[in-house]
């Protein structure tokens, strides 16, 4: 009965949210900054076992197959965006800018997270490595919600900068997803033992193969004339297969599904398939994302003051990484166009893929450290989501001239 109540509450929240969230256009900007989606994490926390206990641990256990499919869905949809024809049409250098920015942020957060985890826990080196890589992977991702608020204000002078920010935010989560794939390959190789790089590489290759094989299956099914309903069946089947297999092998469902989506986008010669799949996925996208937010909140255990301190350090290091990454990656572009030097301040938002990566860690790695990492990351995501609209506005308004 409790599970049923939890499902009712979850569904109702996601339904109401999918209509109301992210569209609070009539409210003042200051108020809107509190409604970028992070509020659903708080709601999830309140419904979770730390407070109201509506979504208890048993319910979360029952919902595991569902979470598995959601993560597969998120990864597949993200991979699908990397159609080579679309990527080739992007303004010059945007892919490289996004990749460099993401890698720099990852490189900035990884050693700090690793060091702090080494100093503060007695977990095995492999678990620490996985946790650190996951925190860094999540940090590399930029969410789009804050940018949406800035764009809604529609100041003409800020458009070139917001366009650049939008491109980076859309592309840099790829760095995070790949890093998450590496992180969980570490776990698949030796769950709780020493770090083994050859084995990690082997599991990473297996992840890529799994994504490619499931993509081949999907493409092989969808190349012949299929109705939208049949395509939905094939899509759901492929996502469940890819995501489920990844989890069964303790690999990253996000990464495997990302590879699958990427391969599907680039293997299909019938141009309309990608568009049709996107249409199907757009139907459930927002609903599933809100469910993920509430479920992440329910998984979240508050912890003590050290978690808050760790989250503040994480936010700080990530901010440094974003600013440095933004500066370094846009230097070439800045020779010809007016790019604000602190463009990284506009890339602070962390929801979306950054959150999915953290949920996946909690889902796959059955270790107390995963719980702590999740608490730190969610707290950081909330802080970042509160800061992001202000910083993104400042970045966009402070820039001038044309970029693209």
């Amino acid at each position: 009965m409790k599970a049923l109540v939890a499902v009712i509450v979850l569904t109702a929240l996601a339904l109401v949210g999918s209509r109301r969230a992210f569209v609070s256009g009539k409210l003042p900007f200051a108020v809107q900054t509190f409604f970028t989606g992070a509020e659903f994490l708080i709601i999830g926390l309140l419904l979770g076992s730390d407070f109201l206990n509506v979504i208890d641990d048993t319910t979360l256990g029952l919902l595991r197959p569902f979470v598995c499919v959601i993560l597969g869905w998120v990864g597949f949809l993200f991979g699908l965006q990397f159609d080579r024809r679309t990527v080739n049409n992007l303004p010059g250098g945007y892919v490289a800018i996004s990749a460099i920015e993401g890698v720099v942020t990852l490189a900035a957060v990884l050693p700090v997270a690793w060091y702090l985890l080494m100093m503060s826990t007695n977990a095995t080196p492999n678990v620490i490595a996985i946790a650190a890589v996951t925190l860094a992977a999540s940090a590399a991702c930029t969410g789009l919600t804050a940018l949406a608020l800035v764009e809604k204000r529609g100041r003409p002078g800020s458009r070139p900068t917001t366009t650049l920010l939008r491109f980076i935010s859309s592309l840099d989560p790829a760095v995070g997803v790949i890093a998450a794939g590496v992180g969980l390959s570490l776990f698949a190789a030796h769950p709780f033992d020493a770090v083994s790089f050859p084995m990690t590489l082997q599991w990473l290759v297996i992840s890529v193969c799994l994504g490619s094989v499931t993509a081949w299956i999907f493409v092989s099914l969808s190349l012949t004339r299929t109705s939208q309903a049949e395509l939905t069946v094939y899509l759901l089947g492929t996502i469940a297969l890819a995501g489920g297999v990844a989890f069964a092998l303790h690999l990253s469902a996000l990464f495997v599904s990302f590879v699958c989506g990427l391969a599907v986008a680039n293997l299909t010669h019938v141009g309309s398939i990608r568009g049709r799949v996107m249409t199907i996925m757009a139907h459930g996208d927002r609903f599933l994302y809100l469910l993920l937010l509430v479920l992440a909140g329910a998984y979240w255990k508050l912890g003590d003051i050290r978690v808050l301190l760790a989250a503040l350090v994480y936010v700080g290091v990530r901010l440094v990484g974003k600013v440095a990454g933004g500066y370094l990656s846009t230097r070439r572009l800045a020779r010809h166009h007016a790019v604000p030097p602190l463009i990284g301040l506009g890339l602070v938002s962390q929801a979306g893929m950054g959150l999915a990566i953290i949920v996946e860690l909690r889902f796959v790695v059955d270790h107390p450290l995963a719980e702590v990492v999740m608490s730190v990351a969610i707290l950081a995501i909330i802080i970042n989501e509160l800061l992001a609209p202000w910083l993104a506005t400042r970045t966009a308004d402070g820039a001038g001239g044309s970029i693209s």
């Binding site: 339904l15 999918s18 595991r64 092989s220 109705s227 069946v233 089947g237 297999v245 989890f247 092998l249």
Partner: protein, 464 residues
């Protein structure tokens, strides 16, 4: 890039070969993975998830393959369940199916909603005479005929050896009632697949849904009579019959209420209608179960609400009294195929082939006799109603399939009459397995023969 994909792959035979290759690849991938993965309690949800993916893909593939043999797709889904289920390859084992039972429950209620939404009052009013006659004639002929056949051949059944004739007659009464049951779920799936529309389609669907109610009521009476035959000292169990009738009334009332609420939601253009429908169907099934348990434990009442009936009443209300029928059907279209694939694949996996193997001869005889009785009953009804000739000739083909309700009634016999009840259940489950395999193909053929299946429409035109 704008070439015709079918032409590129060389048409029908090549498509089947290609599908078979893909199916083999999916099967090999899953087989290899199951050997690689050590299934522990923590990895069980992951196993269920990827097996769900496997079930969806393999069933959809088999559905396409059998379609080229002019069979309905749901036969392919059922075959996939049988092939990969516990009695053959055991990929969809009982352990895998258990966490997915929620999907099955939801699908059951969803199909009820779809069936109700397909029933248009205006057409039913036009066809009421045929519908009533079909219900009365086929129910009577099948019950009496199959029950009589069962009684006459009682000596063939070892599990009835110790029973006196009066008790065998009571058992035969229950068998007759179960034989009259249909499968609205299969009917609606075939109608959806063939995009069939017209008086024949509506009549078959209307009869199938209404017959469920009639069968439930008759089963309550038959069980009460059987109870009297087996324990005359306890007297006639009228309470049970009243409970069943009450459950039907409450189910319909709840369904109408649900229909009104859903109609308002649709009218106000609420978000994510497809997902709301799926969620509501899941809720209806689960809440019916919980209410049943509660009433049984706390009030001592065996009132089991019927989720299929609740949803069918809701769908009927929306279609006929809220003006939101088209919107409901369009929203259901988005999710209908995945729901059917899951439901019928799981139904196939749950088909007790063990029972069929042990009593196939007797089962075949009962199934065959049932078909003959359905032919007689429908011929009588359609003649009395003055239906046109194609209708008279092919009507019986729409009533062969049996599924969920029959199995539920059999399990009630098993629970109420342990001992011979188990033997009877084995035989009747085997009969249902046969009917479930041949029924969908028969109904599809009937729809094509009377010209109500839209075979000419291109496959991609369907749902969107």
């Amino acid at each position: 890039m704008a070439c015709d994909p079918d032409r590129r792959w060389g048409g029908g035979e090549h498509l089947v070969i290609r599908r078979l290759i893909t199916l083999s690849a999916v099967g090999v991938l899953v087989w290899l993975l199951l050997r690689m993965i050590e299934i522990s309690p923590s990895s069980a949800p992951a196993e269920s998830t990827f097996m769900l993916g496997f079930a969806l893909l393999s069933a959809a593939l088999l559905g396409e393959i059998v379609e080229h043999l002019r069979l309905p797709r749901i036969t392919g889904y059922i075959l996939a369940g049988i092939l990969f289920g516990p009695f053959a390859a055991n990929l969809l084992s009982a352990r895998v199916l258990e966490p997915l039972s929620a999907l099955n429950d939801m699908a059951f209620a969803f199909i009820g909603l779809a069936a109700g939404a397909e029933l248009k009052l205006a057409t039913l009013k036009e066809r009421w005479k045929s519908i009533v006659l079909l219900i009365v004639c086929t129910a009577t002929v099948v019950m009496v005929g199959v029950g009589g056949f069962f009684f006459v051949t009682a000596s063939w059944k070892s599990f009835l050896d110790d029973l006196p004739p009066l008790q065998i007659l009571a058992v035969a009464g229950m068998v007759g009632v179960i034989a009259a049951a249909r499968s609205p779920s299969s009917a609606i799936a075939i109608i959806d697949e063939t995009k069939a529309d017209g008086p024949f389609t509506e009549t078959i669907l209307g009869v199938s849904v209404a017959m469920d109610i009639v069968v439930i009521c008759l089963f309550a009476v038959a069980t009460a009579v059987a109870g009297l035959a087996f324990a005359p000292e306890q007297g006639l169990d009228l309470v049970f019959a009243l409970e069943v009738t009450g459950a039907i009334g409450v189910s319909i009332a709840l369904g109408v209420l649900l229909g009104v609420i859903m109609g308002l939601y649709l009218k106000r253009k609420g978000p994510q209608v497809s997902l709301v429908i799926v969620g509501l169907c899941f809720l209806v099934y689960r809440l019916s179960e919980i209410a049943g348990h509660y009433l049984e434990q706390n009030q001592g009442l065996e009132i089991h609400l019927e989720p299929l009936l609740i949803c069918a009443a809701a769908g009927f209300t929306i279609q006929n009294w809220s003006h939101q029928g088209p919107r409901l059907l369009s929203a259901m279209d988005w999710v209908a195929l995945p729901v059917y694939v899951v439901f019928f694949t799981m139904a196939g996996a749950r088909l007790d082939l063990g029972a069929l193997a042990t009593s196939w001869g007797l089962a075949l005889a009962i199934a065959g006799f049932r078909v003959v009785m359905i032919m007689l009953g429908t011929r009588l009804a359609t003649s009395l109603a003055g239906d046109p000739e194609p209708f008279r000739r092919y009507c019986w083909l729409g009533f062969v399939t049996q599924a969920g309700l029959s199995l539920a009634l059999i399990s009630q016999i098993e629970n109420r009459f342990p001992g011979w009840g188990n033997g009877l259940a084995t035989t009747l489950v085997a009969v249902i397995a046969i009917n479930q395999l041949i029924g969908p193909a028969a109904f599809k053929m009937a729809l094509e023969k009377v010209g109500e299946a839209q075979r000419g429409s291109p496959p991609w035109k369907g749902t969107s």
